[in-house]
C-alpha cells in the first residue's frame, strides 16, 4: 500500500466549491529511462485517477509518463451533502489504491 496525502477542508459550506489536493507515493517509472545494465527500465506508472463524491463522479483523469514521480493532482469539488470522498488510483503492474475521506457540509 503506497502512502498518500490528501488535503481537504474538514467543513465546507453547501453549494460552494473547495479545493482538494492529492499526492500519492509512486515512482512513475516512465519506461524511457535506461537502467544500469543498459536496458530500458520497464514502464510502471499510475494510469488513472478518479474521485467520487457520495458515489457521483467529480473528476476522472488519465495520467502519462510525463507526470512527475509521486503524482500530485489538485482539483475542485462542489459541496452538496455530508458524506465522503473516495479517491481511486490504478496503474501498471496491477497497481490499485483507494482512499476515503469524510466530509462535513454545513
Amino acid at each position: 500500500m503506497a502512502r498518500s496525502l490528501i488535503t481537504l477542508p474538514e467543513r465546507v459550506v453547501r453549494g460552494e466549491s473547495f479545493r482538494v489536493r492529492t499526492l500519492l507515493q509512486h515512482p512513475m517509472e516512465s519506461g524511457f529511462r535506461v537502467g544500469a545494465d543498459g536496458r530500458l527500465l520497464p514502464r510502471d506508472i499510475v494510469r488513472r485517477f478518479r474521485c467520487l463524491y457520495n458515489g457521483e463522479l467529480v473528476i476522472e483523469a488519465e495520467l502519462s509518463p510525463a507526470i512527475a514521480a509521486n503524482p500530485f493532482i489538485e482539483f475542485s469539488v462542489r459541496a452538496v451533502d455530508s458524506g465522503s470522498l473516495l479517491f481511486e488510483w490504478s496503474g501498471d503492474n496491477g497497481f490499485a489504491q483507494r482512499e476515503q475521506r469524510p466530509l462535513i457540509v454545513a
Partner: protein
C-alpha cells in the same frame, strides 16, 4: 583538430542520448490534439496554462490549467500536451456532476525547452487551446 573532434564526439553522444526514446513531434502533438478535440477546430483563448516561463528542474514542474470566464458546467474536459517529451500526452481530465471550478493543477516532467499546450473542450463542442513556451535548464532524465 584533436580537441575539435573530441568535442564533436561528445556533442554527438549527447545528442544521441536525447534522441534515444522516440520523441514526440509537432505531428504527434497535432494528432493528440485532434484526438482530444474530436475534429473540432482549435481556437486560441479561454483556457489558461499556468507555468513558470523558466524552469530550473524539469523533473517536477508545477502546472495549472483553468478556464477563466467560462461557467463551470460548460467545461467538459481539460488536457495538457507537450511538443518534445517522448510522448505528447501529459494529462487528460473529464469532469463529473460533482466537480467545482474546472481547474486542475499537477506536477509534470519536461525533457527539454519546448512548447506546452493546454486544451479545454466545452459542452458546445468547441475546443480552445493555449500554447506556452518554456525554457528548461535541467532536463528530466529522458522525460
Amino acid at each position: 583538430m584533436n580537441t575539435l573532434n573530441r568535442r564533436r564526439l561528445i556533442a554527438a553522444a549527447g545528442g544521441l542520448w536525447l534522441l534515444r526514446p522516440a520523441a514526440a513531434t509537432p505531428e504527434s502533438l497535432a494528432a493528440a490534439l485532434r484526438d482530444f478535440s474530436g475534429g473540432a477546430p482549435l481556437r486560441d483563448g479561454r483556457v489558461q496554462l499556468d507555468i513558470a516561463p523558466l524552469v530550473d528542474n524539469g523533473n517536477t514542474v508545477p502546472v495549472g490549467v483553468s478556464v477563466p470566464g467560462v461557467p463551470a458546467e460548460q467545461v467538459q474536459a481539460l488536457a495538457l500536451f507537450t511538443e518534445r517529451n517522448p510522448q505528447s500526452e501529459v494529462l487528460r481530465a473529464q469532469f463529473g456532476p460533482r466537480a467545482g471550478e474546472r481547474s486542475l493543477a499537477t506536477r509534470m516532467r519536461l525533457a527539454t525547452s519546448q512548447q506546452l499546450v493546454a486544451a479545454a473542450k466545452l459542452t458546445d463542442g468547441s475546443c480552445w487551446v493555449q500554447r506556452v513556451d518554456v525554457i528548461v535548464t535541467l532536463s528530466a532524465c529522458l522525460e
